[in-house]
């Protein structure tokens, strides 16, 4: 199994950025009857989310977050040894958007920069990479950027996703520190179920053409093209209810962590109903499970760090034992145990 204990790596700070434009789930989406809108909001807990305008990409959001983070921590772009950018929505197919961000952030040319094509598990996978670069590679500072503009993957009349998915970008700074507490990360993958959450066409397996771009009502009632995101809601709920819960429970048992010892559980912000079921099954009280889904929605790879940024920017910094759980496209999922000690988090940036 891909489970590693990382020593000497500190999470120094985390920052988030969201678009200014707000979508109100009760008022917008007029194609759905008002009663249904109310029920969906009551169930998912997504009252609103942010939508990036056409010209705004995940990289813009992550750049804004990174600049706020570095400035607040008193670090400069010249201090960064590597940029790892996890996203499903890069600026271009080629090259890695991280390369563009090396330039836009004014990092040294001796900076390593690459993308990881992952969605809702992206932050935990990216964290694994960043920790490896520091512990194994001897780097001093790694900027982990996680962001998605998922609204651009959805069709505006696919009610299966349009009430839930939002846009956001984040930056997390990891630094070498021999006094840091261990970070433990376990990652899992099951590619046999990839078709339960994917974009069927527009890649190289099924090239974009007139047919794949055609918007039609689908058997599940959603309206979309083959180049929009498809989600099999019940299979993903089943995945979350079984594999994800089991992974966290087994991780806690293996690491000898009791629910009482957890100060904060940062779950990927998938769906309010589902997340409450997960935390209750794990016997972790609601007060220890920060949420941002109510106002930012499900922001893909950004959802865990955005929730961390919101939480730590609005609370007094203390020492917290945390669990993180990311799960989604692939299917892939992962669990992280980390002790965050005085982590810096500026207020979430709103980008116009």
């Amino acid at each position: 199994m891909a489970k590693s204990v990382f020593k000497g790596v500190r999470i120094s700070g985390v920052a988030g950025a969201v678009p200014q434009q707000r979508v109100d789930n009760l008022k917008d989406h007029q194609f759905v009857p008002e009663d249904d809108r109310k029920k969906i909001v009551a169930l998912t807990k997504v009252g609103a989310y942010r939508r990036a305008p056409v010209e705004m990409c995940s990289s813009d959001l992550c750049q804004a977050a990174a600049e706020a983070l570095l400035s607040g921590l008193g670090r400069t772009a010249q201090d960064i040894d590597a940029i790892v950018f996890t996203t499903m929505t890069p600026d271009y197919r080629v090259p890695s958007t991280a390369c563009l961000l090396q330039d836009r952030l004014h990092c040294r040319t001796s900076t390593l920069a690459y993308d990881i094509n992952m969605g809702c598990s992206g932050f935990v996978v990216g964290l694994y990479n960043a920790c490896t670069l520091i512990q194994g590679g001897g780097l001093k500072r790694v900027l982990l950027l996680a962001g998605d503009t998922q609204t651009k993957l959805c069709h505006s009349e696919d009610k299966n996703v349009v009430f839930i998915l939002g846009d956001g970008g984040t930056a997390t700074l990891l630094e070498a520190d021999p006094t840091a507490d261990d970070i433990v990360i376990e990652l899992m993958t099951d590619g046999s179920r990839f078709k339960n959450l994917y974009v069927p066409a527009g890649g190289f397996r099924c090239r974009s053409n007139e047919t794949t771009r055609r918007v039609e009502e689908q058997p599940d009632g959603g309206v979309r093209s083959a180049e929009n995101l498809y989600m099999n809601g019940m299979e993903i709920f089943k995945f979350s209810a079984t594999d994800v819960v089991k992974s966290i429970a087994e991780f806690m048992e293996a690491q000898h962590i009791c629910p009482e010892e957890i100060d904060s559980l940062f779950l990927h912000q998938a769906n309010g109903f589902m997340n409450e079921k997960i935390s209750r099954k794990l016997k972790i009280p609601d007060a220890k499970v920060p949420y941002t889904i109510g106002f930012y929605g499900n922001t893909g790879s950004a959802s865990i760090p955005l929730t961390m940024a919101h939480h730590y920017s609005t609370t007094v910094p203390t020492r917290e034992r945390c669990l993180l759980s990311g799960f989604g496209v692939g299917l892939s999922w992962g669990v992280v145990s980390a002790t965050l000690d005085g982590v810096y988090a500026p207020p979430v940036v709103e980008l116009a």
């Binding site: 599940d220 809601g233 079984t242």
Partner: protein, 93 residues
């Protein structure tokens, strides 16, 4: 049938009817379409989002708490859904 047996039988019939009526109401279909063989494949309004609303609706109405795995099992058919609701109610007694 004894008096208590008849009373239990009537209450059981009443409970079954309540479950069936609430189920149909939440899915917005006539109650006559809800029998033991009703499944997501046969009820067009019974999709994944609606299913979570069904579970949530029954939790609220009957003050029960459905585990995530049970919620998944309930998606199999109305018979499975009802079986789990009844088991939850029995646990409370």
């Amino acid at each position: 049938m004894s008096t208590s047996g008849l009373r239990d039988h009537l209450m059981s019939d009443s409970l079954d009817a309540s479950i069936r009526e609430l189920f149909a109401a939440l899915l917005r279909v006539p109650v006559t379409r809800i029998d033991d063989h009703a499944r997501p494949a046969t009820i067009e309004t019974w999709d994944s989002m609606q299913h979570l609303m069904l579970v949530s609706g029954f939790e609220e109405e009957f003050s029960i708490d459905v585990d995530p795995e049970e919620a998944v099992d309930m998606y199999e058919s109305f018979a499975a859904f009802r079986r789990i609701v009844l088991a939850k109610l029995e646990q409370r007694r």
